[in-house]
Symmetry: C2
Subunit: 194 residues, 2 copies
DNA sequence: TCGTTCATTGAATATGTATTCAATATACAA
DNA sequence: TTGTATATTGAATACATATTCAATGAACGA
């Protein structure tokens, strides 16, 4: 393994460790020394890999943004694209909730993306997280579902925001208590159902 | 007005200002100087009223805990007590969402209580917020609704957690964007509906 | 009116933690 | 093997901000 690869590995290790801690304890309560100790490496060395705590967060959020992009244009999305709208959303949630155990980092990434959108988070990362927009995409899906009569009447944008806010709330609850069972996706989709 | 009353007024002004800022910008991003400037008063004076930022948060959370207590045993609760379970929850949400504009501090208090429960918030305040438990109460309500056939099958505790996590998610979204319209309470209650 | 007490200020201090840095070890290339 | 670049360390520093404090002003009771 070349030295460059080594470095890349280490970088990823830091990112994954930070992701865990940020979601577990919150960004502000996670100290650089906590991350360093968990990797493990010396605190000083952290700064050979990331020039600051904020940049580290930013890198994570960029990864999350790319991942979301990839997900919504990838083959899985295509395969689902012509399902009925409610089936599509149910499938998505099913997948996401199963990631909570099987691919915790994917799950954590989603939770982090939601958290970073909030007031009081570092500006730059926040902007990137805000730019990732599932709201409009889902709103279009909802409008389609309304045409087909599977979804109730209502402003699709508002419904989309409420749907994702609910999902975020539940994912944070799950992140806080890893023992918690996932809800039946049907429950959440019911928010939208006719 | 006596001097003691003056002081009490000032105390409340600080508490309300802090509540606003904590919800608006987040606890960690809200500096003592921010609160002082907003009241307005000198930063030093803050410490004649509250011995620390954490204690200030704690006071707010204690108020929130009492308020919740009062709400769930007060006359309004009694009046609702023999409504069908779904009507009860719908009424509660209706009220809460209307507070978003009419009594923002009540709304903010609810949002804060939810936020303080999260990892990374000051321990003492967190314990108090955690002790306020709508989960069990609502779970009982859900069980009743299941008997009556208005709610779907499922673990009432899990359903209760998911319901409140969704509500929290949406209230935080509303707190972030004060222009946002409130959802129809029916949407949220649908999470539980048969 | 005078003295005592409380309110108020803003600059000084303490503290926690992000960030830097000088020193050392390790890998690699010639 | 030797010299150069990179990785690594942990202690020193910088910085942000919570907290203290000495000084001043305002209210109140006697």
């Amino acid at each position: 393994m070349t030295r460059k690869e080594q470095k890349e590995e280490r970088r990823k290790a830091i990112l994954m460790t930070a992701l865990n801690l940020f979601v577990e304890k919150g960004y502000y309560d996670t100290k650089i020394t906590d991350i360093a100790a968990a990797v493990p490496m010396s605190t000083g060395l952290m700064f050979h890999y990331f020039e600051s705590k904020e940049v580290l967060l930013l890198e994570l959020v960029k990864m999350g943004a790319e991942g979301t992009q990839a997900l919504s244009s990838g083959p899985a999305a295509q395969a689902m694209a012509d399902l009925p709208a409610d089936q599509y959303l149910k499938g998505f949630l099913q997948q996401m909730f199963s990631f909570a155990n099987e691919q915790p980092w994917v799950f954590n990434m989603f939770v982090l993306m939601g958290q970073v959108r909030r007031n009081g988070m570092p500006e730059e990362a926040r902007k990137v997280a805000m730019a990732v927009n599932s709201i409009d995409f889902t709103a279009a899906l909802i409008a389609r579902g309304q045409m087909d009569g599977v979804f109730r009447a209502g402003d699709p944008i508002l419904m989309s925001r409420c749907f994702w806010a609910s999902v975020q709330g539940i994912m944070e609850e799950m992140a806080m208590d890893r023992e918690m069972e996932a809800p039946d996706p049907e429950w959440l989709v019911s928010i939208l159902k006719a």
